[in-house]
Symmetry: C2
Subunit: 230 residues, 2 copies
Amino acid sequence: MACQTRVSEAVIRRLPVYYRHLQELEQMGVERISSRELGDKMHYTASQIRQDINCFGGFGQQGYGYHVPSLRRHMASILGLEKTYSAVLIGAGNIGRAVSNYKGFEQDGILIRAVFDKDPDLVGLNCGPFIIKPYDELDEYLEQNPMDIGIIAVPAEAAQSVADRIIECGISAIWNFAPVDIQHPDSVVSTHVHLTDSLHILTYLMNEEALFNEIDARAKVAQIDAESEE
Amino acid sequence: MACQTRVSEAVIRRLPVYYRHLQELEQMGVERISSRELGDKMHYTASQIRQDINCFGGFGQQGYGYHVPSLRRHMASILGLEKTYSAVLIGAGNIGRAVSNYKGFEQDGILIRAVFDKDPDLVGLNCGPFIIKPYDELDEYLEQNPMDIGIIAVPAEAAQSVADRIIECGISAIWNFAPVDIQHPDSVVSTHVHLTDSLHILTYLMNEEALFNEIDARAKVAQIDAESEE
């Protein structure tokens, strides 16, 4: 995500988190929730919640909280989840297989239509419900079947050339699983799945206490030094 | 991530992003970078960058920018990436296979030691460089080989019971790929990989222009209505 957006990247990153929590609340049968309760659940402040929601025009909180199913639908519509999208998956390795087998995407309206791979040993085999097609036939396929989203699940070194190719074939939205940033024109949108980010947050959390013990101890020494100089 | 942390969740979420960009800059041979240049690259403001870095004690920007390799190492140490961690992977499905095959984790000091699965058809087969062990033997294995991190890559309905079990066996850090939130005591830390979040951000970006055209048009109508009432 590196394009010019109408709302800040921080707000955009929170939108799917709202959506997930609202889905959960709706499934639990919760009818109404105040911005404060929603904030507590998501570890944001009530005022941040109200500000975020107001970024997209008013959505009335009628004194006694948001109506959960309405806010969930509102959020789905902001996220573009009320439409359906056709997608082509390039790369039938482990990540590609996991993606093509994951049932949740279809609920969100993402319909994978075909899977391509370069490896002749994989072509013709199954990948989820698909028969893997040869990468050589991608251009022709996309010409006959224009797709909304290209899912890139190839090794790092192949990712840019795959991106260039599908963009040339008219795809303007890329979901990138390759561990490398992809360059593309501003007319194309993309998001990048960084598995290591959540791993690094985990190792941070594992070490936070020790880290701040050290920082606090250093600050104390600095203070003692400063006082002894006075 | 739902525990009490010393810095805000928003700051913590940005740390891996800093680390990635600094790694990239270092690999490109960049020696120094100002908070402004780093901000431009990451789409944050210079002041946010300085504030974030200052959360962890001072890190001098000496008039002419941050020293990239030093800041990269500083960030690695904040993220706990200067240590090594042993990990056990539960679930040898597509996600489990992708994780066990991914070489990048080892660079970060995450050493997967064993892979377990419940499915008797999978036990004994290879999963990356591992032979899949039976889930029944997990307790005994963890008793003899205490692990730092448990990686959960099982279906949603099995995730909580796997989490309960590994926590009981002494694991206090969970990297969860199952599409469901896991409950655990405060003494345990966890992060959750939500693949759909990045997909929802992508669909948002695909629709943002149309969304704001609609919001702007509604606002205009509301303004005209208000003016005609005056």
